[in-house]
C-alpha cells in the first residue's frame, strides 16, 4: 500500500459526497464536479432521471421522512419482451374482462414505505395501468392493466427503470388457496371469540345468581343461552379439533387434538344433559374460551410458519423465465414454456443457460457451481453437453436444446427434492407422545374416581369424575408447545433465520452429525485473491488492467484495491486472449497478466523465487496467476475460494458443543482436503468429488445411524438437504436449496447456525418446563378431584390458571435473547452479521446466482 497515493485519492470523511438517489457515499473516481447531482452507480443515475422525468420527485421527500436504509438501485438490463408472448400471458396473468388483465409481479429492491408510494403511482405515469397495489412485506405488486392501451413489457420496463426489476410470481394458484385458507381461519377465530365472550357474560349472571339467588326462570334462560352459543362454538370453529382427532384415530397416531376433542365432547354432553335436567354445572364458559384460546395459539404459530415459507417460495420467481431463441436470422426472447426440442438458443456471456443441450457454436467458460459445487471455471466448446442452470462466463454460445423445464437435469433434481421432502417422516412431537399417555391416564383416573365415589353417592360420583375431566383439561398441554415455538420462530425471523417447520427446533436441540457443503457454505463461493507474493505496488495497476475483462479471475483481481482507487488509473492498448491472459499499458508501464503458458508465449520466463512461490500456492490448491511488468515477472497471485471469515470460529464452537463435523463437496479432492486440513477436520471425514446424487446417498446412509443435519447452498446440495433430518440453506443459496431446506439463513456467515442451535436448545427447554408444569398441575388437581376436595365449579375456575402459567413460561423464555456470543472472537464476522438486519429477500439471488434474466 502506498500511503500518499491513498490519501490523494480517497475523500476524507468531511467532504464525502452522497449519491443523489440512494444516499450512499459516491466513490471518488465517479465525482463529476460539473454536475449538481452525484451518483454512486449508473443504476442510481438511471432511476433518478426516470423518477424526475415522471414528476415523481416527492419520492425523495417521503423517503427522507420514513428514514429508509440506503439501497443503491440496480435495474436489470432487460427488455422483458417475453412478457408479451401469449404463452406467457396465459401462464402468468388472469383475464378479468376484454380490456382488463391482472398480474402479480415480485419486485426486487422494495425496502421502505416510499417504495409503496412510488410503485403505486404507476397508473399516473403509464396510461393503461388501471391499478397497482404493493404488498410491502412480500414485495409483490398486483397490477390491473388494459392490454389494448399498454403492453405488459412496457409496464415491466417502467418498474425496472424505477429500480424495481420485476419477476412473474410462480405458484400464483397456491397463493390464492392459502389466502382463502387464512381468511377461513380468521373467521373461525372471530366466531369462537364472539361465542366465548357472550357465554362469559351469561356466566357472570349465573355466578351472581349462585351467590345471591336468582329466579329459576332467568337461570334457565341464561343456561339455555350458554348451551346454544356453546354448541355453535363447538360445531363451527371447534370442528377443527374433531377433524384433527378423527385423522389421528385413522392414522393411529397420538395427536393433541385427540384429548382436546375428548374433553370438549365430554364437557358438552354433560353440559347439555345438565341444562335439560336443570341441575348441576354447565361448562360452556370454559369450553368456549378453550376453543377460542387454542385457535388463537394455532393461528399465531401458523402465521409465523406461513410467513417463512412464503418468503422462501417467492424466491422461485427469480429463476429465469425466458430464453433467446434463434429464428432464422433473428433472435427472439420467448418464455421457457414455448421452447421445443432442437430449437437453437443463444446464451450471452453472463446469462444463465435455460436448457439442457449440446453446444453447436462458440467457445467459452462456464460456472457450474450450481450443479456440481466446483468453484473453478470450466472450459466448454462446440459438441459438448451443457446443462440448464450453469452460467456462461466469457463469450456467447449457441445451444441446440434437448430438454427444457422439468425435464432438465436441474428439473429432475428438483423432483427428487420434492419426493424426498415428502418421504421424510415427521417426528412425533414430545407433546403428542405425552398426549397418548395423558388421555389414557385421565380416562382411567376418571373411571377410578367414579367407581370410588359410586359406593357413597351416584350423583356425587358423576360430579367428581367430571371435575377431574375439567380440571385435567389438556389446554396447557396443548398451548405449551405452540406458544414456545411461536416465540422462537418470531425471534428467529427477526434475526434473519427463517424456519419452515416448527418441529425443526426439536430436532436441533441435541447435538449429532452435521455435514457441510464447501463451495458457498464454508467458503464465499467465488474466486478471490487469497495470497499475493511479490511487488505490492503493481496491485493497483493489475486491478486497473483487469477491469477491462469480465472473466471471474479478472473480477477477483480487480478486488485487489478498494473501489475508489482503481478508477484513477486507466489502462490503454488492452488485448485479451480468452482463457489465457491479458496485456495492456497502465500508468506508462506495459503489463502482462496470465498463466505461465501465456507468459511463455509472450517471451517472458519465470524467475526462480516466483516459480517457488507458485509451487507453494499450487500445493495449497490455489491457482497461480503471474503479473509481469515491462517483461519482468514481479508478482504472483494465488487465486482460490477463501473461507468465510467466521467459518473457523463457528466450526470449533460446534465441535466443542458436541457436534460431529463432516465435509461433503463436489469440488476436486485436492481442494477439499486442503480446506479440511485448514479447518482441522480429519481427512476421512472430508468427502470430495461428490455428485448431487452421491451426497444424497451419503446422507441417507448416515441417517440410519442417527439424526443428520446438512448445511448447504447449491442445487447440488438440494437433494441432500431434503434427505437430512434438518436441512439448513445458507445466505446466498440457490432457490432449489431454499425449497429443500427446513431453515434458511438470511444473514451471511455461519454464526447464525450457532444462534439457531442454541435457540433450539432454549426453546425445547421452555417446552419441557411448560409441559412439566402443566403435568404437575394436573397431577395435583386430579388428586384433589379424586379426593373430592374440589367440585366442578372450582375446577372450571382453576383450569385457566395452568394455561396462564404456561403462557408466562413460553413468553418468559428468551430464545435468541440470552445467547452466549461464541462468534464474538471472530470480530468482523459478528459485526457483519449484526450490521445487516435490514436484509431483504431479493439479496439472496443478487449475491448468490448472478443477475436475473
Amino acid at each position: 500500500m502506498v500511503p500518499d497515493l491513498a490519501q490523494s485519492i480517497a475523500p476524507t470523511a468531511a467532504e464525502a459526497v452522497e449519491c443523489a438517489h440512494c444516499r450512499l457515499p459516491v466513490p471518488a473516481g465517479l465525482i463529476d464536479p460539473s454536475h449538481e447531482n452525484q451518483f454512486c452507480c449508473n443504476g442510481c443515475r438511471t432511476v433518478y432521471d426516470v423518477i424526475h422525468g415522471c414528476g415523481l420527485e416527492t419520492y425523495y421527500r417521503i423517503r427522507d421522512t420514513v428514514d429508509a436504509d440506503p439501497l443503491p438501485a440496480r435495474p436489470a438490463g432487460h427488455a422483458y419482451e417475453e412478457m408479451d408472448n401469449d404463452v406467457f400471458l396465459d401462464a402468468n396473468t388472469a383475464q378479468r374482462s376484454d380490456n382488463h388483465r391482472t398480474v402479480a409481479l415480485y419486485l426486487e429492491g422494495v425496502h421502505c414505505a416510499a417504495c409503496v408510494w412510488l410503485v403505486e403511482r404507476l397508473p399516473r405515469v403509464l396510461p393503461g395501468v388501471l391499478e397497482a397495489t404493493l404488498h410491502i412485506r412480500e414485495s409483490v405488486v398486483r397490477i390491473a392493466w388494459d392490454p389494448q392501451k399498454v403492453a405488459l413489457s412496457r409496464i415491466a420496463r417502467m418498474l425496472n427503470s424505477l429500480g424495481y426489476p420485476p419477476h412473474p410470481v410462480r405458484n400464483a394458484d397456491r397463493a390464492t388457496r392459502r389466502r382463502d385458507e387464512d381468511r377461513r381461519f380468521l373467521i373461525r377465530i372471530a366466531i369462537a371469540g364472539a361465542c366465548a365472550g357472550n357465554v362469559m357474560l351469561a356466566s357472570f349472571a349465573l355466578y351472581g345468581g349462585f351467590f345471591n339467588g336468582m329466579a329459576a326462570e332467568f337461570e334457565a334462560l341464561f343456561r339455555w343461552l350458554s348451551a346454544g352459543l356453546g354448541v355453535v362454538s363447538l360445531l363451527w370453529p371447534g370442528a377443527v379439533f374433531f377433524r384433527g382427532a378423527i385423522a389421528a384415530i385413522r392414522t393411529q397416531t397420538a395427536h393433541l387434538d385427540l384429548p382436546i376433542a375428548l374433553g370438549l365432547t365430554v364437557g358438552t354432553i354433560t353440559g347439555l344433559v345438565n341444562t335439560i335436567l336443570q341441575r348441576g354445572e354447565i361448562y360452556f364458559d370454559s369450553l368456549t374460551v378453550l376453543v377460542f384460546l387454542l385457535l388463537v395459539g394455532r393461528w399465531v404459530q401458523h402465521r409465523q410458519q406461513r410467513w417463512a415459507s412464503d418468503a422462501v417460495e417467492l424466491l422461485f420467481s427469480l429463476t429465469p423465465t425466458a430464453a433467446r431463441r434463434i429464428e432464422g436470422d433473428t433472435v427472439r426472447t420467448v418464455p421457457i414454456e414455448a421452447l421445443q426440442p432442437n430449437d437453437l438458443v443463444q446464451v450471452r456471456a453472463g446469462d444463465n443457460v435455460p436448457v439442457d443441450g449440446i453446444v453447436t457454436d462458440g467457445t467459452s467458460t462456464i460456472d457450474q457451481a450450481l450443479l456440481t459445487g466446483e468453484s473453478r471455471p470450466f472450459p466448454i466448446a462446440a459438441g459438448q453437453s451443457i446443462y440448464a442452470g450453469v452460467t456462461n462466463l466469457s463469450s456467447p454460445l449457441t445451444i441446440r436444446a434437448q430438454t427444457a423445464g422439468a425435464q432438465t437435469r436441474v428439473g429432475r433434481l428438483m423432483q427428487l427434492v420434492e419426493e424426498w421432502s415428502q418421504r421424510k417422516a415427521p417426528i412425533v412431537r414430545l407433546a403428542d407422545r405425552i398426549a397418548g399417555w395423558f388421555v389414557a391416564a385421565v380416562l382411567l383416573l376418571a373411571l377410578l374416581t367414579f367407581v370410588l365415589w359410586m359406593r357413597q353417592d351416584t350423583v356425587r360420583a358423576v360430579d367428581q369424575a367430571i371435575a377431574l375431566l375439567i380440571v385435567t383439561c389438556p389446554c396447557a398441554l396443548g398451548l405449551a408447545t405452540p406458544l414456545a415455538m411461536t416465540v422462537a420462530l418470531g425471534r428467529a425471523a427477526q434475526r434473519g433465520i427463517l424456519i419452515k417447520g416448527a418441529d425443526t427446533l426439536e430436532r436441533l436441540a441435541r447435538p449429532g452429525l452435521i455435514c457441510f457443503d464447501k463451495t458457498g457454505t464454508l467458503t464465499a463461493g467465488r474466486m478471490s485473491v487469497v495470497e499475493w507474493v511479490g511487488d505490492e505496488t503493481v496491485r493497483p495497476l493489475t486491478a486497473a488492467l483487469e477491469a477491462h475483462s469480465s472473466h471471474p479471475v479478472a473480477s477477483a483481481l480487480t478486488q485487489l484495491v478498494p473501489d475508489d482507487h482503481q478508477l484513477s488509473l486507466q489502462a490503454t492498448a488492452v488485448q485479451e486472449t480468452p482463457g489465457a491472459g491479458i496485456r495492456g499499458r497502465v500508468d506508462g508501464r506495459s503489463l502482462l497478466i496470465g498463466s505461465e503458458r501465456y507468459l511463455a508465449e509472450n517471451g517472458v520466463t519465470l524467475p526462480p523465487t516466483i516459480a517457488r512461490a507458485a509451487e507453494t500456492l499450487t500445493a495449497r490448491a490455489l491457482s497461480p496467476v503471474y503479473i509481469s511488468q515491462d517483461d519482468v515477472v514481479v508478482a504472483v497471485a494465488g487465486l482460490g475460494d477463501p473461507l468465510r471469515p467466521d467459518t473457523s470460529a463457528a466450526l470449533s464452537t460446534l465441535r466443542v458443543g458436541g457436534w460431529d463435523l463432516r465435509l461433503l463437496s463436489g469440488d476436486h479432492r485436492v481442494i477439499v482436503s486442503a480446506i479440511a486440513t485448514e479447518l482441522e477436520i480429519p481427512a476421512d471425514d472430508a468427502v470430495g468429488e461428490c455428485t448431487p446424487e452421491r451426497k444424497r446417498d451419503w446422507i441417507d446412509g448416515a441417517a440410519s445411524a442417527g439424526p443428520v443435519v446438512m448445511v448447504g447452498d447449491g442445487v447440488n446440495d438440494a437433494a441432500a438437504l431434503a434427505t437430512a433430518d434438518v436441512g439448513i440453506a445458507v445466505h446466498g443459496g440457490a432457490e432449489a436449496s431454499l425449497a429443500a431446506a427446513d431453515v434458511y439463513l438470511r444473514t451471511p456467515g455461519l454464526s447464525a447456525i450457532l444462534d439457531l442451535l442454541s435457540a433450539a436448545r432454549s426453546t425445547v427447554r421452555a417446552i419441557h418446563v411448560g409441559l412439566a408444569v402443566s403435568l404437575a398441575y394436573n397431577v395435583v388437581a386430579a388428586s384433589l378431584a379424586i379426593a373430592g376436595i374440589i367440585n366442578p365449579l372450582i375446577a372450571a375456575i382453576l383450569m385457566p390458571l395452568s394455561s396462564l402459567t404456561v403462557v408466562a413460561i413460553a413468553f418468559g423464555a428468551q430464545p435468541f435473547g440470552d445467547l452466549p456470543k461464541p462468534a464474538a472472537a471472530s470480530g468482523t464476522a459478528t459485526g457483519e452479521v449484526q450490521g445487516a438486519p435490514s436484509f431483504r429477500v431479493g439479496d439472496a439471488f443478487r449475491n448468490g446466482v448472478g443477475p436475473p434474466g
Binding site: T58, R61, I62, T65, V66, A113, A114, V116, W117, E120, T133, L134, H135, I136, R137, R179, D182, R183, L186, I187, A190, I191, A194, G197, N198, A215, F218, L221, L225
Partner: protein
C-alpha cells in the same frame, strides 16, 4: 325483569351483526395485508 326477553335477543342480534361485518370484511381481503396500509395512509395526500 321481563325486559330481558327484549334486550337479550337484541344484544345477540348486535353481536351477530358484528360477526357478519367481520366475515364480510375478511372476505373482502381487509385483513390480507396488515403491513402496507399503515405506510400507505401516510402519503395519501402526496401527489
Amino acid at each position: 325483569m321481563s325486559v330481558i326477553y327484549i334486550i337479550l335477543p337484541l344484544a345477540l342480534l348486535m353481536a351477530l351483526g358484528g360477526i357478519i361485518a367481520f366475515i364480510w370484511a375478511t372476505r373482502r381481503g381487509q385483513f390480507d395485508d396488515l403491513d402496507t396500509p399503515p405506510n400507505r395512509m401516510l402519503f395519501d395526500d402526496e401527489e
